[in-house]
């Protein structure tokens, strides 16, 4: 598979898209946020320095979910009252998924368009999607802190965002993203670190 390449319109560095469907990426050199147009890349913004983060996952971390190999090609960093968390953009054979890492608690989700979604939620309300009943456990007010790598959509001018987390009684997990006017649903499940069989992880001083 040939990877689409281009040059950064800001600094001229070579930009390689690891995933052909990526819509946005960040220049590794000048941190310009670049959006793909039909022919060229357009600079839409600049990433400020990302906050210190100790997610063991990094760009290029590989793993396996539901017998499908994935690689982390991008991320969105959010900040909330307990610090920061990462939404890692995973690329699999058949599309993209998200691996959320909040204080080393891991959740894999997939965008689930086309479901009926509530306009707003309160804690302990219940919703059923795909024959699975979910209960609202937390509503998190957060703000966008930065992006890295490739994303399947344009994401760079956000401010405050609201996430609604829902859990089922058998490990299934749902997130409603209320950042935009129309909410977006993600469905997936909590995962054990060991089950993801991650490779190319970060190393931590004093830990092998």
């Amino acid at each position: 598979m040939t990877q689409p390449t281009a040059n950064c319109p800001n600094c001229g560095a070579k930009i390689i898209f690891r995933w052909s469907s990526s819509v946005q990426t960040v220049c590794e050199y000048c941190k310009s946020i670049l959006v793909r147009t039909d022919i060229d890349l357009k600079k839409v913004g600049q990433v400020a320095d990302l906050p210190p983060n100790s997610s063991p996952i990094q760009m290029g971390t590989e793993g396996i979910y539901n017998r499908q190999a994935f690689v982390a090609v991008g991320r969105i960093v959010y900040e909330y009252d307990q610090g920061t968390w990462n939404e890692w953009h995973l690329v699999m054979n058949n599309g993209s998924a998200w691996l959320s890492d909040a204080q080393d608690e891991y959740v894999v989700t997939f965008a689930a368009p086309g479901r009926k979604l509530p306009a707003e939620c309160r804690v302990s309300q219940r919703y059923t999607w795909d024959n699975e009943t979910y209960t609202v456990t937390t509503i998190t007010k957060a703000h966008y802190r930065g992006v890295e790598g490739e994303l399947p959509f344009q994401y760079w001018d956000k401010q405050d965002v609201v996430f609604v987390d829902l859990m089922s009684t058998n490990g299934k997990f749902a997130t409603l993203d209320y950042s935009d006017e129309t909410p977006v649903l993600y469905l997936g499940q909590s995962v054990e670190f060991d089950d993801l069989k991650l490779k190319n992880l970060r190393s931590f001083e004093g830990w092998s």
Binding site: R18, E28, Y29, P51, P52, N53, S54, P56, Q58, M59, G60, A72, V73, Y80, D81, Q82, G83, T84, W85, E87, W98, S100, A102, Q103, D104, E105, Y106, V107, T109, V123, T135, T137, T138, T140, A142, G149, F163, D165, M167, S168, T169, N170, G171, K172, T175, Y186, S190, F193, D194, N200, L201, R202, S203, F204, E205, G206, W207
Partner: protein, 458 residues
């Protein structure tokens, strides 16, 4: 194919900082995962996410008052993974004005995140945040929760306050803050719910022996002796005695099969039968010997049956079974008595016309019986018969075997029930007959829930 560009993410390092309150050195062991960190020098609770380490709260405590049993910075292995103790807190509930406290240790691994050890009165639990939602059923008393197929009974609900903190926490910790803790037990596990405001955090603890923790963290000395029975302490006798009784039934069936096999394969060979009469009107020696009879085969029992026509009378027979060749004698006496009559309650009888006895382990050989009857003088002639059978299975032996099976099973069941009784006597749902008197029971175990920060927040 590394994605790291010119600015690789770098290797997170353990941070050495200084407390803005007193200047003392601070270590951040959980890299940037901690939300709060406590200065053990001046007891300032600091915002670990803020590079300036803003002081969030200061509390008064004598640090030596509650030294953690596992010092901060100690590493150990839990379920195959290395964890470092990064935080410690003491939590307290008040029951009738009396404070009861337990301790929680925050453990950290940079890949697997946080887990917790809790300790109360020498009882330890290995605790993690639940990644699935339990189902609560409040329609029964005590209430229950179902979690991944398991059923847990509500043990206790209490308001728990944080009374002392040390080190790092993955949530906003404050001294003096309360939360409502409910513990649901299914030994060796306990599911705890913690409610702070609207948010409920669920966690699961599994009972772990103190000595296993001492081994896992290579600690010196011995863990504190556990006091009393703890809410989710597994019964040393296994609370579930179903398996025991299933085994009992299995052995019982085997026993019955054995009995039937013995019964059907036994020879039950009649070796002698004789009819005699004893004239009680004649004084003097009435003893006699029988004909010699052969006992064949292997060493086995001999069942001797005495039948008599005694009516409101008795006959006593002194027997000797004598081996003709060796002279070895088995002496024994048997009585046949039969009484009957009428009284205000109606008719009654006592005794019967037949007596049977087994002489065990008689070797093969030629034997005869020496018989000497006795009875009341002057009651006419008593007729009686003697018969002996070789190799007769004795039901009483099987009865003894049954007892040998029943006694331990019953004893274990009783002790196990007693253990469960001690456990539940300390709960909010103590049975009515327990002596738990909440006002003056110093050993009253308390809810050992866990304030843990929120779960994932994607």
């Amino acid at each position: 194919m590394s994605a790291s560009g010119p600015n690789p993410p770098g290797t997170p390092q353990v941070k050495a900082l200084n407390c803005p309150g007193c200047g003392a050195a601070l270590t951040l062991r959980s890299f940037s995962q901690a939300v709060t960190v406590v200065c053990d020098h001046c007891h300032s609770i600091l915002d670990a996410q803020d590079p300036r380490l803003t002081i969030l709260q200061k509390f008064k405590a004598d640090v030596d008052e509650y030294p953690p049993l596992i010092p901060l910075g100690t590493r150990g292995t839990i379920r195959g993974a290395a964890y470092e103790v990064v935080g410690f807190q003491r939590r307290t509930i008040h029951v009738d004005g009396i404070p009861y406290s337990w301790h929680e240790y925050v453990l950290f691994n940079p890949y697997k995140g946080f887990r917790y050890l809790t300790e109360y009165n020498g009882h330890w639990n290995d605790t993690s945040i639940l990644r699935s939602l339990p189902t609560v059923n409040n329609d029964v008393s005590p209430a229950t929760v179902t979690y991944l197929g398991g059923n847990y009974k509500l043990f206790q609900t209490a308001k728990a306050g944080t009374s002392f903190v040390l080190g790092e926490f993955p949530w906003q910790v404050r001294v003096g803050e309360d939360s409502d803790v409910s513990d649901y037990v299914s030994p060796p596990r306990v599911i705890s719910s913690e409610r702070t405001g609207k948010e409920i955090t669920w966690s699961m603890g599994e009972y772990i022996a103190g000595r296993d923790i001492w081994k896992a963290f290579s600690l010196q000395g011995n863990p504190p002796e556990p006091v009393g029975v703890y809410e989710n302490q597994p019964s040393p006798l296994s609370a579930d005695t179903t398996a025991l009784w299933l085994a009992f039934v299995g052995f019982l069936v085997a026993l019955v099969v054995m009995f039937i096999a013995f019964e059907s394969s036994a020879r039950k060979e009649q070796v002698i039968q004789g009819f005699y009469s004893f004239n009680t009107n004649v004084r003097g020696e009435a003893s006699f010997v029988t004909d010699v009879f052969q006992l064949k085969g292997h060493t086995s029992d001999l069942e001797l049956t005495t039948t008599s026509d005694v009516s409101n009378n008795w006959i006593y027979l002194n027997y000797a079974l004598i081996n003709q060749d060796t002279g070895q004698a088995y002496d024994f006496g048997r009585e046949v008595s039969y009484y009957y009559g009428y009284d205000s309650d109606g008719s009654w009888t006592e005794g019967g016309p037949t007596d049977s006895v087994a002489i065990p382990s008689v070797p093969p050989g030629s034997y005869y019986l020496r018989v000497e009857p006795e009875s009341n003088f002057g009651h006419g002639t008593i007729s009686y018969s003697i018969s002996a059978k070789r190799d007769v299975p004795q039901a009483s032996f099987f009865g003894l075997a049954l007892l040998a099976l029943l006694v331990p099973a019953g004893l274990i069941t009783w002790r196990s029930m007693n253990f469960e009784h001690l456990r539940w006597a300390e709960s909010d749902y103590a049975p009515a007959d327990s002596n738990d008197d909440d006002t003056d029971n110093p050993d009253k175990p308390i809810s050992l829930g866990n304030i843990f920060g929120k779960g994932s927040d994607s």
